[in-house]
């Protein structure tokens, strides 16, 4: 299919920059204890979701696990709403009720933000089922980690998707680790993509540090699905620079490994590609980065100044309609 305009690539580059600067701020605010609970950073994996979003339509369904800040930001949820969510504020993308692991943005077709490993994969299949049921040509993008593929719900979901020929791309963000457990220690396969064979689902390996490869390979997959609904599986190889969560020193991996991937940084790489092709000057890049930093910084101020969700609304989110004698007196 036709290459998207370079403009798009510059746009996606700034999206990747925003994600990184946002999370750097988030980690700083977490250390300052402005943020509670668990907080999982995506830094290093930016090309994956940005490539996917570039390849998909804005109304394609998107759902992911708990490492979800980037997925909302890439879909256009504001940094303000995202930071406010971390602060647990009423202005957050989940009104401060969801937190880092539970980002939602209905308007932008971002369906969470799910914290039970692999439990959202059946949800994705249900969303794809709905598109087919309504004869829409929407495709569902379902992101999950390498650790998720050993959960029963992953298995049941893939078989169901294949059986009913549903329009869903299963995107495994293989960052080599599930917490401290490397893929070799969690999965009985030489390569994750082979698991798709067990369902007769076509599988592809993608270099997740290369924005263009992610976008182009997923574009192909997505358009083939639009033409004729079916599931597909993509093993996207990437790396998280930070620990699993803010509390993880990540002593289970080597400095060398981390350095190797840093040298392959997705932002540096796309920048280089664009400058080489004279689609981006250093000045332009610096401006983009400066903007990203400003937006991230501003989001902290916004979050700080935002109101807490009202205490008297405590019972308003359990049921969407009034319920007889509930809550009990």
């Amino acid at each position: 299919m036709a290459q998207p305009e370079p403009r798009d690539e510059v746009e996606m580059l700034s999206s990747m920059l925003l994600i990184r600067r946002f999370e750097e701020r988030a980690s700083q605010q977490y250390q300052a204890q402005k943020i509670g609970g668990f907080c999982h950073l995506y830094i290093g994996q930016e090309a994956v979701v940005c490539g996917a979003v570039a390849a998909a339509r804005a109304d394609d369904y998107l759902i992911t696990a708990y490492r979800d800040h980037a997925h909302a930001l890439a879909r256009g949820t504001s940094a303000n709403a995202c930071m406010a969510e971390l602060f647990g504020k009423a202005t957050g993308c989940s009104r401060g009720l969801g937190g880092s692991m539970h980002y939602f943005d209905r308007e932008r077709h971002m369906y969470g933000g799910h914290a039970i490993v692999a439990a959202h994969v059946p949800l994705a299949v249900g969303m794809a089922f709905a598109s087919k049921y309504r004869e829409e040509d929407r495709v569902t993008l379902c992101f999950f980690g390498d650790g998720a593929i050993n959960q029963g719900s992953f298995h049941e979901a893939l078989n169901l998707a294949a059986l009913y020929k549903l329009p869903v791309v299963f995107i495994c963000e293989n960052n080599l680790f599930a917490m401290g457990t490397s893929v070799e220690r969690s999965t009985s396969l030489k390569q994750i993509v082979d698991r798709a064979e067990g369902y007769d689902i076509p599988g592809t390996i993608i270099d997740g540090m290369n924005f263009r490869e992610v976008r182009d390979k997923l574009s192909e997959i997505i358009s083939s699905i639009r033409a004729d609904p079916h599931p597909a599986f993509a093993e996207v190889r990437t790396y998280r620079y930070r620990g699993h969560s803010m509390s993880d020193p990540a002593s289970y991996r080597t400095k060398e490994q981390l350095e190797k991937y840093r040298l392959d940084d997705p932002i540096t790489r796309l920048r280089a590609q664009l400058t080489r092709e004279e689609k981006l000057t250093n000045e332009q890049f610096d401006r983009l980065d400066k903007e990203a930093k400003e937006v991230a910084l501003a989001s902290v101020k916004f979050a700080e100044e935002s109101p807490e969700p009202p205490l008297d609304k405590l019972y308003d989110y359990t049921y969407s309609q009034p319920v007889g004698q509930w809550p009990p007196q």
């Binding site: 009720l97 969801g98 249900g126 719900s153 989110y317 359990t318 004698q325 009990p328």
Partner: protein, 332 residues
């Protein structure tokens, strides 16, 4: 009721409820094991495939966790799934989907995603199915905020509650009773819109000496016991069918107990942290001074269900056990 009535089975009532809601709303679909080509393991979905086609009546593999989750996902984007568990004993392999995804989504999304889903199927012990196939799950699910739970005991309640559940905008569990599928009762003619609100109990028999609180399987049992109490003990028992476990109709309970001052709860589940425990807590809290005797419950014995018929009978609540408990609270 003014409306003309006719006698149908509990199974037929559920079938009508499904057919009417499938007819009314194109977003409603039925999914589960053997619901389509086999017409349902217990024939509740008889004829629905033929009438509504494979797009809306969908057979699944044996993947409860998977298709329960599919239902939640489909509900997030606007469909109104009815998910059949062949029995709720098998919902235990889908427990996380029912307990985490369906009821938490509205809160976690800050109100963006309500989940209009119905989980239905037979629940509780049937006959000699053994320990793994006899689970009464109502108390497990009732503990979970965001779920609603109803437990019809008559064809009329079955139809009215299932229709209401399907129209409800939040997750509802309709816990049916396998042993009642073939039981008969009067129900409004088809075409008459029968909707029974969730959270409304019903006095199935008036009485003045004691309140027997029951639901699902234990309703016929309570009515039989009440007859015998009337004839053999001259005790006038009021039989209150909860119909919904959550929300719980405390007004109806308080109303009855204010009259009788004595309560026995007869439940189909296990005792420990069961429905009877919750109901008794609420009653003693609200009506401490108007109780003339301790509240007693008659539940399953606290053991895994044995296969042997006599032992199973000994584990289950019975009219005999209920009558003994009633006599205790009435000092009769």
């Amino acid at each position: 009721m003014a409306a003309a009535m006719r006698e149908i089975t509990y199974r037929q009532a559920l079938n009508e409820a499904l057919a009417e809601e499938l007819e009314r709303d194109p977003n409603v679909f039925l999914m589960g094991e053997e619901v389509a080509e086999y017409n349902g393991a217990y024939k509740v979905s008889q004829g629905l495939l033929e009438r509504f086609g494979p797009r809306r009546i969908i057979d699944t593999p044996i993947s409860e966790n998977g298709f329960a989750g599919m239902g939640v996902g489909a509900a997030m984007v606007g469909l109104r799934p009815v998910i059949e568990f062949m029995t709720f004993s098998f919902s235990l392999v889908a427990f996380d989907q029912v307990v985490n995804n369906a009821p938490n989504m509205l809160t976690m999304s800050g109100g963006q995603f309500n989940i209009p889903i119905t989980f239905r199927g037979p629940n509780g012990p049937a006959h000699q199915l053994g320990a793994t196939h006899s689970h009464a799950t109502e108390c497990l699910y009732a503990n979970v905020p965001g779920l609603k739970i109803c437990t019809p005991a008559t064809p009329r309640d079955a139809k009215g509650l299932l229709k209401t559940a399907i129209r409800d905008n939040d997750p509802v569990l309709v816990l049916e009773v396998e042993l009642l599928y073939s039981s008969k009762g009067m129900v409004e003619e088809e075409g008459v819109e029968l909707l029974i609100p969730l959270g409304e109990a019903e006095v199935k028999r008036e009485g003045s000496d004691v309140t027997i609180i029951c639901y699902a399987q234990t309703v016929p049992l309570a009515l039989a016991a009440a007859e015998r109490l009337e004839n053999e003990e001259e005790i006038s028992a009021e039989v209150l069918d909860l119909r919904s476990i959550k929300p719980l109709d405390m007004d109806a309970i308080v109303g009855s107990v204010a009259k009788t001052h004595r309560v026995v709860i007869v439940e189909q589940d296990r005792p420990f942290c069961g429905v009877g425990a919750e109901v008794s807590y609420r009653i003693q809290k609200e009506m401490f001074d108007s109780l003339d005797a301790p509240i007693l419950r008659v539940a399953q014995e606290d053991v895994p269900m044995p296969y042997n018929e006599q032992l199973e009978k000994a584990v289950l609540p019975s009219a005999e056990k209920l009558i003994a408990a009633v006599k205790k609270v009435c000092y009769a």
